[in-house]
């Protein structure tokens, strides 16, 4: 089931025009009930009109022809603001298109607007935004998850059909899970990062959000591939994936630890039973010894890189500049006033672990553990086709609940960060609603460049769950 294909066939049959479709989505985006958008693309209706003409001429070619897409506000779209939800880039207008945006434009996608997020993608609740927190569409008192909260909401609440976000330590999967949609964190290097405002270069990946797995696949196929502008991007190996059922799936032992909310554990058991019953998979528990260090390692590596990546916001070339009499004063005031608390906390943490004298003890050691985590994952992936675990140890939590305690906020990412450290692909998928009506989702992890396996397996599961 693909909403993209359904809409394009409407165009092909001349039953509807891109202008009509985009207006429906735009209406909701303009209402902005959940504060999911930071800015809207003012030219989208004009761009839709161009496509209307093509429909009338029968020239429907792009794979995303007339499909409304929202973009996380840390991905550059030429001519649109790119704020990263930060005061420091409040008025920054992107001078070029990110590689993924070039690819979307080539497929005639319609960019609705730029979505809310945690400032510079640093956060798990979308509360650290200079443009205010976003709300969970299932319960406005609760957070949508972060950092790509706006992207997840926009897809969940039909403000956009697809969205692109970025995942550094769970920033696609967590909000996808909290908002009940799919969110894919591709293999590191599968998608070009050129034009994604860097948070932690060795962990960041751009990835898709969608309501249907087939649409995730379509969007991923379009954005993946080597880009000469990104030396960390790789040629994506094209191969046929034919899963042989029942698959062997490993369940992370920590999924059932006392840190995980009861209802998530019971749902996971339910999910496992369903797949066993349907003969889709056989399950066995597995362990990652260094799992408990993943959060610490993640925050050392991510903050170190962030402290350097965010150094350019100093008031000299672009963005917010504070008034002052001398250079050093200008740097200090600009950065003190321009960055939010969480960003400053991470910059300081990063600068600290890179200090000479501490570098070996923190950064170098963290990199060693990082390698160990990857090795453990790969070892388990020799035995299993897929690894299964929750996305978050909790259901979507209430706004403000974790703001005073950064460590408990960091622990929301306990199941997601290790995958980024390993560079492996992972996908968050919705399973059911909790008793209170909040989405519960899980994630699969696979080998490098095996996203196709997710798509095949989840198409089958989607059919079973939703018919």
């Amino acid at each position: 089931m693909s909403e993209i294909k359904r809409i394009i066939s409407l165009y092909k049959n001349k039953e509807q025009l891109p202008g009509d479709i985009v207006k429906e989505y735009l209406k909701k985006a303009q209402k902005n009930d959940f504060n999911s958008f930071i800015s809207l693309n003012e030219n989208v209706l004009e761009q839709a009109e161009e496509l209307d003409k093509k429909v009338k001429e029968g020239k429907i070619e792009g794979r995303l022809f007339g499909i409304p897409v929202s973009i996380k506000d840390n991905i550059l779209v030429k001519g649109l603001k790119c704020t990263c939800a930060s005061k420091i880039l409040e008025n920054y207008i992107a001078p070029y298109d990110a590689t993924v945006i070039e690819k979307l434009k080539k497929e005639d996608a319609l960019i609705i607007g730029k979505t809310n997020m945690d400032e510079f993608a640093m956060g798990s609740s979308n509360e650290y935004s200079a443009f205010g927190p976003a709300s969970n569409p299932f319960d406005r008192e609760r957070v949508p998850g972060g950092s790509s909260g706006g992207s997840a909401i926009s897809v969940s609440a039909d403000e956009a059909l697809l969205s692109l976000g970025s995942d550094t330590g769970g920033s696609i999967r967590l909000p996808a899970s909290f908002c009940g949609v799919y969110g894919l964190k591709p293999t590191y290097g599968a998608v070009s990062r050129y034009g994604l405002v860097a948070f932690a270069s060795s962990l960041d990946q751009i990835g898709p959000f969608a309501k249907y797995i087939e649409d995730v696949e379509i969007l991923f196929d379009i954005i993946k591939g080597k880009d000469e502008k990104d030396k960390t991007s790789a040629h994506y190996p094209e191969r046929e994936i034919k899963p042989s059922y029942p698959l062997k799936i490993g369940v992370l032992k920590d999924s059932f630890s006392d840190k995980v909310e009861e209802e998530i554990k019971t749902s996971l058991e339910e999910f496992i039973k369903l797949l066993e019953k349907e003969k889709i998979a056989e399950f066995k528990e597995f362990e990652i010894e260094s799992f408990e260090y993943a959060i610490a390692v993640y925050y050392i590596v991510a903050c170190a890189e962030a402290s350097s990546n965010l150094a350019r916001y100093d008031g000299v070339l672009y963005g917010f500049k504070s008034k002052s009499n001398n250079l050093w004063d200008m740097y200090e005031k600009t950065r003190t006033e321009g960055f939010g608390e969480e960003v400053k906390r991470r910059i300081m943490l990063g600068a600290f672990v890179l200090k000479s004298g501490y570098y070996e003890e923190y950064y170098v050691k963290a990199q060693k553990v990082r390698t160990k985590i990857l090795k453990e994952f790969l070892k388990n992936l020799e035995e299993f086709d897929l690894l299964l675990m929750p996305v978050s140890p909790t259901l979507p939590f209430k706004k403000g609940e974790k703001l005073k305690d950064p460590i408990s906020m960091y622990l929301s990412d306990i199941f997601t960060v290790s995958v980024n450290l390993a560079g492996l692909p992972a996908i968050a998928f919705p399973f059911k609603l909790s008793k209170q009506g909040l989405p519960i989702g899980f994630q699969f992890v696979s080998k490098f460049f095996m996203e196709k396996l997710f798509f095949e397996v989840l198409k089958k599961i989607e059919k079973i769950i939703y018919g």
Partner: protein
């Protein structure tokens, strides 16, 4: 005996002469109007990523090979983090921990000898923007930002300003011979920072001063000498030498404090995550190195050149090779005047001499004709002048201008001159032999200079029986 121990270390930054910048495709041209050759990458816009310029890496490897450095199999870049307006990203991509070249040595020409001075490392990095201070305001030109830069660092191995300056001259010459940089100091393509530390022998101390703004070799020599004397005086008075950065004041001809180094900056280096480590390509290691200037120098000295003469020739890679080819056929003393005076007087800047209007074999033929007496010197000089000024190959000029008159044409001319100047002939016959040169001049005039004066003189003398 001198009671002082002098240690001088050098850190040289060299702009590489690549087409495009280190991490983007912007043109390398600092002479263009400000901020013309810029793009999102070299101005550090959010979201950009660096793509290393292979040519620049190759150049860094080439220099490392020429200077006998150890080159690792795998290279990577690191980030050097600090804030400054000329640094748009807030960090410089450079090398740290791993250098393109480790160790190595520079063959330096010192008083006619080749002396080898050690190197510590050669790093490849990116250039910063250029700032201008005009009427209290700072202006930034990002044309320079992102140009590939080599950082060449020596240990504190020099004992005098002469050694340091000779080292720099030799290093510059090598880089010019490798065609990796023009090393124009005025344009800032070759910049030198200096550490000077004077100690009383036997006493351990870690003080040193860093000298900046030494923008020419003469300023370097003077600045270092000044600093050595300044530190000596302080030591003699028993005073402490501060660890500081001092600026060379070109007008007052002295160094003064720029900043004290109580606070050591922490650059928070870490490996650049945007550029994966990469292998040093085999082809970079196998490409044939050009002959280095000190090798040319030694050959020239062997062939009898004076050190000064040899140094002039090796300042141009082209002239070095040209001269070497000529010397395969002809002795140095037969050609040195022609090369060093006749040719070079028409060249404004020997270092940048990249070609001549004639080949070495044409030149060899030309000199051969002069040696054989087929071509008079003075005409040879005119030919060189015309060739150089009008860019005409020598062989065209020789065939057009010089066909030495001899045989009957020459005999006839001599007969005519003798007839026309019977009075002079009488004088000669009566003993005033020196007047023969007058007759030679007349013959030459008649033949429009196209004769060999020596031959004419001999013929006249023979004809007159003297």
């Amino acid at each position: 005996m001198d009671k002082f121990e002098i240690k001088i270390g050098l850190e040289i930054h060299v702009q590489l002469k690549t087409e495009s910048k280190m991490f983007c495709s912007c043109k390398v041209n600092i002479d263009d109007e400000p901020n013309k050759n810029i793009c999102p990458v070299c101005t550090g816009q959010p979201g950009v990523l660096p793509s290393p310029n292979e040519k620049a890496v190759f150049y860094a490897v080439l220099v490392s090979r020429a200077l006998n450095c150890r080159i690792p199999e795998i290279l990577y870049f690191s980030r050097k983090n600090y804030f400054y307006p000329d640094l748009p990203k807030g960090y410089q991509i450079t090398q740290y921990g791993i250098s393109t070249g480790f160790g190595g040595e520079v063959p330096v020409i010192m008083n006619g000898e080749i002396v080898k001075f050690p190197l510590e490392r050669i790093n490849l990095e990116e250039e910063t923007a250029k700032s201008f201070h005009i009427e209290g305001k700072v202006y930034l030109d990002y044309n320079r930002c992102g140009i590939p830069l080599l950082e060449i660092v020596t240990p504190p191995c020099f004992k005098s300003s002469e050694e340091a300056v000779n080292f720099l001259k030799s290093l510059r010459r090598i880089l010019i011979h490798l065609s990796v940089s023009d090393c124009n100091m005025e344009k800032g393509e070759f910049r030198v920072d200096t550490n000077v530390s004077v100690n009383i022998k036997g006493k351990k101390s870690d003080h040193r001063t860093e000298l900046k703004n030494l923008n020419s070799l003469s300023a370097l020599k003077e600045g270092i000498s000044f600093e050595i004397e300044r530190q000596k005086k302080l030591l003699e008075k028993g005073e402490k030498i501060e660890r500081e950065t001092r600026l060379w004041d070109e007008e007052k001809r002295e160094t003064r404090v720029m900043r004290t180094k109580e606070f050591v900056e922490d650059y928070r280096y870490f490996p650049e995550p945007d550029i994966p480590p990469f292998e040093v390509k085999k082809e970079w290691l196998e490409k044939e190195l050009p002959i280095l200037p000190h090798v040319y120098y030694q050959k020239l000295i062997e062939k009898g050149a004076e050190p000064k003469e040899a140094e002039i020739i090796i300042s141009s890679p082209f002239l070095s090779e040209f001269t070497q080819r000529v010397l395969e056929k002809l002795p140095f003393n037969k050609v040195k005047g022609w090369i060093l005076t006749e040719i070079l007087q028409h060249v404004p800047d020997v270092e940048s001499l990249k070609n001549l209007p004639f080949t070495s074999s044409e030149f060899i033929d030309f000199i051969g004709k002069i040696i054989e007496g087929k071509l008079p010197r003075h005409i040879g000089q005119e030919i060189i002048k015309k060739s150089m000024e009008e860019n005409i190959p020598l062989k065209n000029l020789i065939s057009e201008k010089v066909e030495i008159k001899s045989g009957s044409e020459l005999e006839n001319a001599i007969e005519e001159v003798i007839k026309e100047n019977s009075d002079v002939v009488e004088k000669i016959k009566s003993g005033k032999v020196s007047a023969v040169s007058f007759l030679v001049g007349q013959v030459m005039r008649k033949l429009k200079g196209k004769a060999n004066p020596k031959e004419v003189k001999e013929k006249i003398e023979k004809r007159l029986g003297i």
